[in-house]
C-alpha cells in the first residue's frame, strides 16, 4: 500500500505540493510566533476528524530552518489524551482526494485564464525534532509561559489568547529543537505531521489564530478537511463554492460527500489511523481564503445530525452581547414613544376600548 501510494503521490501529488510551495510553505494550523514578529505562515492543511466523541486533529509542522526561533501555538477544544506522530500520507491523500479536481478544472480553463507563570504543563512530547508542550492556563498564564520560553508574541496575541482561553484553557505549543533537527538531518521546509487525540463533546477547528500577527488586509489561506460520521453542519456556515475559484473569499465548502472507500482504506493504512471506520464517513473540504480582519471565529462542527453547531465553540459570545450605544438610543426612543402614547388622551381612549371588548 505504502509503495502504491508513494508511486501515485510521486505523480499525482507533486503538482499540488509545488503549488503550495510556490504560494509559501505549509506550516501548522496554529498561530506562528517568531522573534521579529514577522509571520511566514501562508497556508496550512489540517484534518479534523470526529468519531465516537473523539476529535482527531492532524496537522503538519514545517521546519523553518536552523537559528530561527519559530514556534506554533494551537488552541485545543479539550485536554488531549495523546499526541503522536501523524501518519505519513494522511494530509497528502486528502489533497489528492479533493484538490485533484481543482487541478483538473484549472487545466480545463487554462486557456481561458491565460491571463508562564501559572500555566500548567500537562504533557510534553518529543516527536522527531519537534518539542511539543500541552499547556493549561488562562491567556495571561499561557502568554507568560510562551514569552518566558522564547516565543515572540505579536501585539494581537493577548486578545487572541484570551479569545481562546475563555472557551478552553488548553493550548499546544510546538517548536523545532535546532540541535535534534540537525542531528536528524531535517531539511528546511520538511514537515513533521502531528496527530492530536482530543476527547470532546463539542469539536471545533481553530481558525482565528491563523490571523495572529497578520495585517487586517492580509489573506489567510488554509485547507481544512473534516471526516465525520454524518454530514456535518458548521458554524460559521461555509459558503457554496464557485468551483475552486481562487478569488472567492470566505470559508468555502469545496467538497461535501460520502468519503470514498478507497480514501478510507488509504487513510486507515497510515500510522495511527486505524480508529477510522472502514465505511460510512462523510468528507468535507473547506477552503479558507479570507482576510485576517474577517477571520474572527473558529469552525464549530456538529456531526450529530441535529444540525446545531455550538455558537460558543465557534467563539461567539456565550451571554448577551454588550449593550451598544445604538441600542441605548433605540430603547430611549421606544420608551419615549410609549410615554407619549400613554399620555395621549385619544390614544388612551382607543386602547381602553380595545380592552373593554
Amino acid at each position: 500500500m505504502r509503495k502504491r501510494l508513494a508511486r501515485a503521490a510521486a505523480l499525482a501529488i507533486l503538482t499540488p505540493i509545488l503549488v503550495t510551495a510556490a504560494a509559501g510553505s505549509a506550516l501548522a494550523c496554529g498561530g506562528l510566533v517568531t522573534p521579529n514578529g514577522t509571520v511566514s505562515l501562508l497556508k496550512t492543511t489540517t484534518l479534523a476528524a470526529y468519531h465516537e466523541g473523539i476529535e482527531h486533529y492532524v496537522t503538519s509542522f514545517e521546519f523553518a530552518g536552523e537559528g530561527q526561533e519559530v514556534g506554533s501555538i494551537i488552541p485545543l477544544p479539550g485536554v488531549p489524551t495523546d499526541v503522536i506522530k501523524g501518519g505519513d500520507w494522511t494530509l497528502q491523500r486528502l489533497i489528492i482526494e479533493t484538490q485533484q479536481r481543482q487541478l483538473e478544472r484549472a487545466a480545463l480553463f487554462a486557456n481561458a485564464d491565460a491571463a508562564t507563570a501559572g500555566a500548567e504543563v500537562i504533557m510534553t512530547k518529543k516527536i522527531e525534532a519537534l518539542d511539543i508542550t500541552v499547556l493549561k492556563g488562562g491567556a495571561l498564564e499561557v502568554g507568560n509561559w510562551a514569552r518566558e520560553h522564547g516565543y515572540f508574541l505579536p501585539p494581537d496575541a493577548p486578545e487572541v489568547l484570551a479569545f481562546y482561553a475563555e472557551r478552553s484553557p488548553i493550548f499546544l505549543a510546538a517548536r523545532f529543537n535546532a540541535e535534534r533537527a540537525e542531528n536528524r538531518g531535517v531539511q528546511t521546509g520538511q514537515g513533521t505531521p502531528v496527530h492530536i487525540v482530543i476527547p470532546t463533546p463539542s469539536p471545533w477547528v481553530p481558525l482565528r489564530i491563523l490571523a495572529l500577527g497578520r495585517k487586517a488586509s492580509e489573506i489567510v489561506q488554509a485547507d481544512v478537511y473534516l471526516l465525520t460520521d454524518r454530514r456535518p453542519e458548521t458554524l460559521p456556515q461555509a459558503e457554496r463554492s464557485n468551483g475552486f475559484d481562487p478569488n472567492q473569499r470566505g470559508l468555502i465548502q469545496e467538497v461535501s460527500e460520502p468519503a470514498s472507500s478507497s480514501l478510507l482504506t488509504d487513510l486507515r493504512s497510515d500510522r495511527g489511523m486505524k480508529w477510522l471506520p472502514e465505511s460510512d464517513m462523510w468528507l468535507t473540504y473547506i477552503r479558507i481564503n479570507e482576510t485576517a480582519a474577517n477571520l474572527k471565529h473558529d469552525l464549530a462542527i456538529d456531526a450529530s445530525g441535529y444540525g446545531r453547531p455550538s455558537p460558543v465553540a465557534a467563539g461567539y459570545p456565550a451571554g448577551a452581547a454588550p449593550w451598544p450605544v445604538v441600542w441605548t438610543v433605540l430603547a430611549a426612543l421606544a420608551a419615549v414613544a410609549i410615554l407619549m402614547a400613554v399620555t395621549d388622551p385619544g390614544l388612551r381612549r382607543q386602547v381602553a376600548r380595545v380592552f373593554r371588548r
Binding site: N36, R147, P154
Partner: protein
C-alpha cells in the same frame, strides 16, 4: 400637550446623553498623576489633555503577557523609534519600556506651547497595530 412636550424633552436629553456616552472625553491628570492601562496592546485612555508647561507623572500598567513601551513625543520622536535600530535604551522622561505584567512610572514636562503630542509603542508591529494615543496640549 404639556406632557407630550415633556416627553420630547426627555427623549432629547436621552439622545444627547447617549451620544456623549459614546465619546470619551480626554483624560486629565489628577494631582499631577495620570494612570494609563495597557490591555490587549491598546492604551487606555487613548486621548489625554494637559496644560502647556504641565508636569505629569505617568503611571503605566501593562496587563498584557507581552512587553510594551511608552514613548511620548512629537511625530519625529515616533518616527525615530519606529525606524530606529536601537533595541533598548535607558529610560528617559516620557520614554520607558513597560515589561509584561508590570507597572512603570515616568514623569514628563510638556512644552509651554499649544499643540499635540503622540504616545505609542514601537516594539515590532505594535504601532501599526494601533498602539498609540494623543495628548492635546493647551
Amino acid at each position: 400637550m404639556k406632557l407630550r412636550a415633556a416627553a420630547a424633552a426627555v427623549a432629547l436629553v436621552l439622545l444627547v446623553g447617549a451620544a456623549a456616552a459614546s465619546r470619551g472625553a480626554a483624560a486629565r491628570a489628577t494631582n499631577g498623576t495620570l494612570h494609563i492601562t495597557i490591555h490587549y496592546s491598546k492604551f487606555d485612555p487613548g486621548d489625554l489633555a494637559v496644560e502647556p508647561g504641565e508636569t505629569v507623572r505617568f503611571v503605566i500598567e501593562n496587563t498584557d503577557p507581552i512587553d510594551h513601551e511608552f514613548i511620548l513625543g512629537d511625530e519625529q520622536v515616533q518616527l525615530v523609534h519606529e525606524e530606529g535600530t536601537e533595541a533598548h535604551h535607558a529610560s528617559r522622561p516620557g520614554e520607558v519600556s513597560v515589561p509584561a505584567g508590570e507597572n512603570v512610572v515616568t514623569t514628563y514636562t510638556f512644552p509651554k506651547v499649544i499643540g499635540s503630542l503622540i504616545f505609542g509603542c514601537h516594539l515590532p508591529g505594535h504601532y501599526d497595530f494601533g498602539m498609540r494615543g494623543t495628548v492635546a496640549v493647551g
